[in-house]
């Protein structure tokens, strides 16, 4: 697992107010999933990808990120092509079975696939350009409950720690031949998962002590927002408005 964290530390998009970024992304997503043709989602995809590349995200990282959603997109097209629609486009026979591709099915499939491409790219762009802490602060501003935000912050921080621990345990087990053979591998895997839960318990105790010692009283301080900058807000509103117009065509 490789979590892609922020890229493009000096890019203007990174410096943008996280609230503005989040709202713009949400607006784009809504437009993408309610678009009628596949031109708009593809436009969003192209734009987002270009921005990602401009921010210095390596092509390889982008490719890995998109492998899975695009695979799903392919699957959807396949499903729709052969199993829905009425207008036959072509047909062939496989192992004595006639498979019929449908024109309308294909179009519907492509629409969904294009939405996947657009939405995934826009989200990826948001992820690359914003740090998790900033996003959480933006969500808090959107009135997402504090409890949720705090849990997410702890989860994010300890994700890496626990992931490292999981890897270390995995390596020690491997080091001691714990994954030779399927049964043994499964057992080792169960132990690993259990050990992680125990680790989570113990760490939660010790961090609580560490935090209480340093004045924790049940709420974590959040990142404070700087005031909105007029230019940023105006610019992004114009952008969203323009996209809205394109969406409408």
């Amino acid at each position: 697992m490789r979590l892609n964290t922020q890229y493009g530390h000096s890019h203007p998009l990174t410096a943008l107010d996280p609230r503005v970024k989040l709202l713009s992304a949400l607006a784009l997503l809504v437009m993408v999933i309610s678009s009628r043709g596949f031109a708009f989602p593809l436009l969003v995809a192209g734009l987002s990808l270009a921005l990602c590349l401009g921010m210095g995200v390596p092509l390889r990282v982008i490719a890995v990120r998109f492998a899975e959603p695009h695979f799903i997109a392919f699957m959807v097209v396949f499903l729709k092509l052969f199993f829905s629609g009425h207008v036959p486009l072509f047909s062939f026979s496989l192992f004595g079975l006639d498979l019929i591709g449908h024109r309308d099915g294909l179009l519907e499939g492509l629409l969904i696939a294009s939405r996947i491409a657009g939405a995934v790219s826009a989200m990826a762009l948001l992820g690359f350009a914003t740090s998790f802490t900033e996003l959480m602060a933006a969500l808090a501003w959107l009135k997402v409950p504090r409890g949720f935000i705090e849990v997410a912050l702890f989860a994010w921080r300890y994700l890496f720690v626990l992931f490292d621990d999981a890897q270390v345990i995995y390596c020690t087990q491997k080091n001691r031949l714990g994954y030779v053979g399927y049964r043994r591998g499964l057992r080792s895997f169960g132990t690993l998962a259990g050990a992680l839960i125990i680790k989570a318990f113990d760490s939660s105790q010790s961090i609580t002590t560490a935090m209480v010692q340093r004045g924790y009283d049940g709420t974590m301080p959040l990142l404070k927002h700087k005031p909105f900058r007029g230019a940023e807000v105006a610019l992004s509103m114009t952008f969203i408005f323009c996209m809205g117009v394109i969406w409408n065509i």
Binding site: L3, N4, A25, L26, L29, V30, V32, I33, S34, P41, F66, E68, F71, I72, M75, V76, F78, L79, K80, F83, S84, L94, L97, G105, E108, I112, R115, I116, A117, G118, A119, M123, G127, G147, F148, E150, V151, F154, A155, W156, R157, L159, V161, F163, A166, Y182, R187, F189, G190, T191, A193, G194, L196, I197, A200, F201, S203, S204, T208, G218
Partner: protein
């Protein structure tokens, strides 16, 4: 005959994907909004329960956060599935439900899903609601009811844990199939598509459910052997049961 071959083709296509999450962008606006509307009250109840429990125990919020991280990691671990010859991924919600109860477990799933959506492109923001419903709400309740029900009927920790993992997994996939079928069907009829998706999942999900059951059972039993105090603390067991 046609059915069988259809299934085989679908299989070959569907299995390598982690079909657990509904990908970003698949659901049209109406469906996305509907699932959000279903998910929100449950998550809100989860937050309420969290706040209530955290009042007496400062370490509860960090604990829930860490559990979310564990669920995240478990659901990213590739598990080789022998029948399909590929890797798939367990959910991990079952354990969470057993340990912290269904509502907080929904919250945990929501957090894990959000992080996956943002930084891995597994699942998505527009499909967040749908994924919370399938993995969080349905998964947690299925697991929790299975565990508690069997425990009340006198089953051992291992058996109840197994059932919880199994039910979580299968219930999640069943719901995912419903969501997917209704989301992508367009104007095609719902049921044929639903069955096709469900059948496509079966070769991976049937064994994966069993594996998840085994894993959950293993974890619960490991906890029991290694740290019974934790099970008591989380009110999975009573103090007397451990001492005995």
């Amino acid at each position: 005959m046609q059915k069988i071959i259809t299934t085989i083709i679908l299989l070959a296509v569907a299995t390598p994907a982690h079909a657990m999450h509904i990908s970003e962008g698949i659901l049209p606006f109406n469906w996305a909004a509907l699932w959000f509307a279903v998910a929100v009250p449950f998550v809100a109840l989860g937050v309420k329960r969290l706040n209530a429990l955290a009042k007496d125990d400062l370490s509860f919020k960090p604990l829930v956060g860490l559990m979310a991280a564990v669920v995240f990691i478990i659901s990213c671990m590739p598990v080789p599935v022998p029948t399909a010859g590929t890797c798939s991924h367990p959910c991990g919600t079952g354990v969470a439900a057993i340990l912290v109860g269904p509502f907080v477990s929904i919250l945990i799933t929501a957090v894990a899903l959000l992080i996956q959506a943002l930084f891995l492109s597994h699942g998505g923001l527009t499909t967040w609601g749908a994924d919370i419903v399938s993995m969080g709400v349905v998964g947690s309740f299925a697991g929790w009811f299975a565990f508690r029900g069997l425990r009340m009927a006198g089953a051992s920790l291992g058996v109840a844990g197994f059932a919880a993992g199994l039910m979580t997994d299968w219930a999640t996939y069943f719901t995912t199939s419903v969501e997917l079928a209704s989301g992508i069907r367009g104007d095609a009829p719902f049921w044929p598509l639903f069955w096709k998706i469900l059948i496509a999942f079966i070769p991976t999900q049937l064994p994966l459910g069993i594996l998840e059951g085994a894993m959950t059972a293993g974890m619960v039993v490991l906890l029991y052997k290694k740290r019974p105090d934790l099970l008591v603390k989380m009110r999975v067991l009573k103090a007397e049961e451990v001492a005995a």
